[in-house]
Symmetry: C2
Subunit: 234 residues, 2 copies
Amino acid sequence: MASLDRSLIAGLSAFQDLTAKELDTIIGRARSKRIARNAFLFEEEQEAHSFFLLLDGHVRVVKSTPDGHEVTVRYISPGELMGIALALGRTTYPASAIAVVDCVSLAWPSHQWPTFAEEFPAFVANAYKTIGSRLQDAHSRVIEMSTEQVDQRVAHALLKLVDQTGKKTGEGFLIDFPLSRQNIAEMTGTTLHTVSRLLSCWEGKGLVKSGRQKVTVLAPHRLLELAEGRAEKS
Amino acid sequence: MASLDRSLIAGLSAFQDLTAKELDTIIGRARSKRIARNAFLFEEEQEAHSFFLLLDGHVRVVKSTPDGHEVTVRYISPGELMGIALALGRTTYPASAIAVVDCVSLAWPSHQWPTFAEEFPAFVANAYKTIGSRLQDAHSRVIEMSTEQVDQRVAHALLKLVDQTGKKTGEGFLIDFPLSRQNIAEMTGTTLHTVSRLLSCWEGKGLVKSGRQKVTVLAPHRLLELAEGRAEKS
DNA sequence: CGAATTGTTTGCGCCCCGACAAACAAGCGC
DNA sequence: GCGCTTGTTTGTCGGGGCGCAAACAATTCG
């Protein structure tokens, strides 16, 4: 395997405030890994052997309920940390991570976490900042689920994805990984049927354009109005 | 004001692994404060001037939506930290905290947080453990909201409160602070009307007993069956 | 002690949205 | 190319639960 270069991780928020030398050390201890589409990076309840940084691709994080429902917790984009269960004081992963496209990630053995904490306090500080912002995300989700209708939640979810990974095209903003109606349903607590109906309706109004596992948002502003309940019910 | 004694905080999980001397130092920098019922400890979006430890009473943490809905994020019991916004890298409080009964709390000025981090690494480590467990709570909430019916969510909410602050009485487990139908509705994303109907129904079946701002769970086991969807629909 | 405030109960109607079902379309492997 | 799998669309039906409204009960306060 070609040796890894610190340029891979320099500039990422997870490695803010670290010196070049520290970056070299950190990346020297990483293994790089390719993950095929639809493969698991790690699974819920498994021993948390490693923590990860996504270099390329997109990862879906899901939790399963005893009765077979799957709920998508979040999508991970390149540059984000994953599987930092141990920072939460856990020894097992709280959720599963699935590659939605072919991915590349870095992985460090979990037993290095305490060492990292001593040697690179800035790194763990950043990791905690990540956890903090995910806590806030989770609270927003709870509030959305508590107070909004399905159409608003779906609109919010699409806008979030556009923000995170939207790719400007001639027509609008393409969410540039395979995203099915079922996936959207699992993000918003509804069924694929309802999502399908909503997208069809919105396509009719020129808000979005969607195909098989593909969604393009044409009019983010109007979708935002809808998400915030400021839209006319026509 | 009488000086504070470390016995107030020794033994709390937030101060695990700290020496008696460290506890003395920490408590020496705290202000103690009484908060009257229904008063705010802090408010959403305000400058986060202090962080708190609840010594006595119960606190409700709520977030408000632009359109006037209130969502209860969690109830705080004695011994828990509150308002640790800065640990999340925030400078303002993400939510409001209201005393549901007369309360006593300790408060430290936020600007001492960095000092604490240096002097008492065990303390911040514990604080992060708290945040981690709240992240998991929040994710459970999201999953409940996504997959469960209203009756299951209300059942879960009651059971959680019983776990947290249930007081064994002759009949069952009393949630020992004022808790209205509206409060329960704000925890579970429904309306006070629906909660009222549910409690009436459950009272008829002998599962709970409830009065004005008062709920006693008589049969936790049967309520748990209901919460997990294993109950007969009679 | 009466009036005002706050919390609870209950009825009714409607609508969002989930359940079920069936047909269709697109990609994938052989 | 042909079947098989996977994803999407659309219809119908029914019910859970919310909005609205009104009456009632418990507390508080003057």
